[in-house]
């Protein structure tokens, strides 16, 4: 029982990260009806920026709180800019073209980012660990049943979960309560009509990309602290987050969150409880889930068949 609870907590923490990345996919799809393949690599760039900022800061002995603030904000800013320029240069010119052209371009951007960062001149293919910021200590710890080991939630997990909560609340507030959020909803409802109503669709799309990229950056920094930084980290995380977005209903913000949490739980439980002989299949779990959803309920759990999304 205690083990199950611990696995569930692990799963939620991982799921929160997937949710953050999935939000980017879902928002872009909602506005443009387009799968941004390069999103996973924006997440990776966020991690790299976080690493690049952390190294000199830790070296200079800056206090932990300040360092954390700077690396998160820096990564968010950096990725928002990156997202803005990717959209401007690579996707905007192709808006009138068949969607598959944009998809291939997105794949191209993804490959570009991955291989650019693998080049030793930029980052190199070797994984690097973040400089030590704080000790990972259990913050909440309680005993369940007769097990000798307590179920623990450590400070990194708490930071992840609370960041996720804060950001998602902020995003929902933004989408529901601000004018730009209203414009965003309008554009994802009906693109052409929205522009007829006087909405600057180009600007709305840029904002969407910037928001999504900033969220991915946060996920990137969190994973950098939890694991390590390497140029291909966006590949597997990106695909899982994408599946999460589809699972929850692509275009739906609460769907992305739900999908992310479910994916995190499924992955953790599979890894923990599959007999050793089959543990390798957990890699395929995400794809399996994806195909299952696409075949059974392509609109996802919270998605509705037509326009009403955000």
């Amino acid at each position: 029982m205690a083990i199950l609870l611990q696995q569930l907590i692990n799963g939620l923490a991982i799921g929160a990260v997937y949710a953050l990345i999935a939000l980017g996919y879902t928002m872009v799809y909602g506005v443009l009806k387009f799968i941004n393949f390069a999103h996973g690599d924006v997440y990776m760039v966020g991690a790299v920026i976080g690493y690049a900022l952390a190294v000199p800061l830790v070296h200079a002995g800056a206090p932990v709180g300040v360092t954390l603030l700077i690396i998160f904000l820096g990564a968010m800013l950096g990725c928002a800019t990156l997202g803005f320029f990717i959209e401007l240069l690579c996707y905007r010119p192709l808006r009138k073209r068949p969607r598959l052209v944009a998809l291939i371009t997105a794949i191209g951007v993804s490959l570009l980012l991955e291989n650019l960062f693998q080049n030793p001149a930029v980052f190199g293919a070797n994984p690097r660990t973040m400089p030590h910021l704080f000790d990972i200590k259990p913050v909440i710890s309680f005993h369940v049943g007769s097990s000798p080991d307590p179920v623990t939630i450590n400070n990194l997990d708490l930071i992840t979960l609370s960041l996720c909560l804060v950001l998602m609340t902020g995003l929902t507030w933004f989408v529901l309560k601000t004018r730009t959020g209203l414009a965003l909803r309008a554009v994802s409802f009906r693109f052409d009509t929205a522009s007829l109503m006087g909405i600057n669709t180009d600007w709305v799309i840029s904002v969407t990309f910037m928001l999504g990229s900033a969220l991915a950056a946060v996920a990137g920094v969190v994973d950098a602290m939890r694991y390590h930084v390497e140029p291909l980290m966006g590949l597997s995380q990106g695909i899982k987050a994408f599946v999460a977005a589809v699972l929850g209903g692509i275009g739906s913000i609460p769907g992305a969150v739900l999908g992310g949490l479910i994916m995190g739980l499924v992955e953790t439980l599979l890894k923990g409880y599959l007999p050793s002989a089959y543990s390798g299949y957990s890699d395929a779990a995400a794809f399996f889930v994806l195909i299952l959803i696409l075949l059974i309920r392509p609109t996802g759990l919270l998605g509705k068949p037509i326009a009403e999304k955000v």
């Binding site: 205690a2 083990i3 611990q6 696995q7 692990n10 991982i14 693998q118 030793p120 190199g124 293919a125 070797n126 994984p127 660990t129 990972i136 259990p138 097990s147 000798p148 080991d149 623990t152 450590n154 990194l156 994973d223 939890r226 694991y227 390590h228 390497e230 980290m233 597997s236 953790t268 439980l269 599979l270 890894k271 923990g272 050793s276 543990s279 390798g280 957990s282 890699d283």
Partner: protein
């Protein structure tokens, strides 16, 4: 206009391919005035430490042999190719080394999987290959042209088990990689020996490339083992140790030569691993090597990959000297008959299975450094 451009592109491609065919005509083997040896390794990628360490050792050997006048009166040149840690790339670079560059011998690789891949090419093209530190027994099995200058995993696994017994660990958990042949084989040999006198408390697996190990570690924590056998590569070991300590698992972890390169810090404190060498080894051959290495590389202490690369290169050079020719068959025969060659890591004799019987060092990580805990001689 466009039509013309398209035709131009198409016909010029045809011309390109045709000219390639013509220029690629077989030339008679050029009498090079250098001795060309090929090296392939993972200079980049998640196991970059393997390739780079081996490369440095090889280069030291090259410097020394050239300073002594080269081989057969000619200077030695090693052509190095990066396989990026990828099997298919390994095959392709070994082919390039043999067919395009015309090397007479190949040095590589560290990872057994890539040695198997590259070894297949060498076997097919009848070119001798010496692996410095691939430990999977299959690398040399049934192969005429592939050799190694290190011990094999059946020995390493059983040594690990004997060490565990000596430490008094009764319950050991095993955490191995399901998609690494090295890890699977090593854990198999360990389990075989250890289960005779102890209990395997839990057996979990992960995949190379994974970053999150909480599920497996939670299961291990629940089994409350005395120690955990972790026969993997340093990249994952770093992550696993960090996450294990975060989860509150305090028992020692231990593993094999893939640990070399692991970050020596708080998380690896009190851990052990079996390896090909230790800088504290008092034998004069080792100390001499360390001094020359430090002299060449600005005081950097060599790792196991450096010393095995050095020895592999020297065995190759020695074989060329004894064969007294650049004929690949003669060199292969000479390597096979290597007896009591004074390698830096110990005396090297190539046995009938093309393997070398070398002692294993058991290293302990304390105070941010590795210390030699024990040395086990081969049977």
């Amino acid at each position: 206009m466009l039509a013309k451009a398209i035709r131009f592109v198409c016909y010029s491609t045809l011309l390109l391919v045709a000219s390639l065919a013509i220029s690629g005509c077989k030339k008679p083997p050029v009498q090079s005035n250098e001795i060309l040896i090929g090296e392939y390794g993972s200079l980049t990628g998640s196991t970059a430490v393997f390739g780079q360490g081996t490369h440095k050792g090889i280069m030291l050997a090259v410097d020394e042999v050239n300073a002594a006048g080269g081989l057969l009166g000619k200077p030695v040149r090693v052509i190095t190719e990066d396989d990026e840690g990828n099997q298919d790339e390994a095959v392709s670079v070994v082919k390039k080394l043999i067919d395009l560059d015309g090397v007479i011998g190949v040095l590589g690789e560290v990872a057994s999987t890539r040695s198997l891949a590259g070894g297949g090419v060498c076997e097919d093209e009848h070119v001798p290959m010496i692996s410095p530190s691939s430990t999977n027994p299959d690398v040399t099995k049934d192969r005429k042209y592939v050799f190694r200058v290190c011990f094999t995993d059946d020995f390493q696994g059983s040594v690990g088990a004997q060490f565990a017994v000596k430490q008094g660990w009764k319950k050991v958990a095993v955490l191995s990689s399901a998609n690494s042949d090295y890890s699977k084989k090593l854990s198999y040999f360990f389990t075989q020996t250890f289960s005779q006198s102890g209990q395997i408390a839990a057996a979990e697996t992960y995949n190379d490339g994974d970053t999150d190990f909480a599920p497996q570690l939670t299961g291990i924590r629940a089994a409350a083992p005395d120690a955990v056998y972790l026969p993997g590569y340093y990249t994952e070991i770093d992550l696993i140790l960090k996450q294990a300590r975060d989860l509150g698992i305090t028992c020692p972890f231990f593993g094999g030569d893939g640990w070399d390169g692991v970050t020596l810090d708080k998380t690896s404190e009190g851990c052990y691993f079996t390896n090909h060498y230790s800088p504290e080894d008092p034998r004069p051959s080792v100390q001499t090597f360390i001094k020359s290495y430090e002299a060449k590389y600005n005081g950097e202490v060599p790792d196991a990959f450096g010393i095995t690369g050095y020895d592999a290169a020297n065995v190759m050079f020695d074989a060329i000297k004894r064969a007294n020719s650049t004929d690949r068959e003669a060199i292969t025969a000479a390597i096979a008959s290597t007896t009591n060659f004074p390698g830096a890591g110990g005396s090297i004799t190539i046995d009938a299975n093309h393997n070398a019987k070398k002692p294993i060092c058991i290293l302990e990580i304390t105070g941010g450094k590795t210390h030699l805990a024990d040395t086990i001689q081969p049977q």
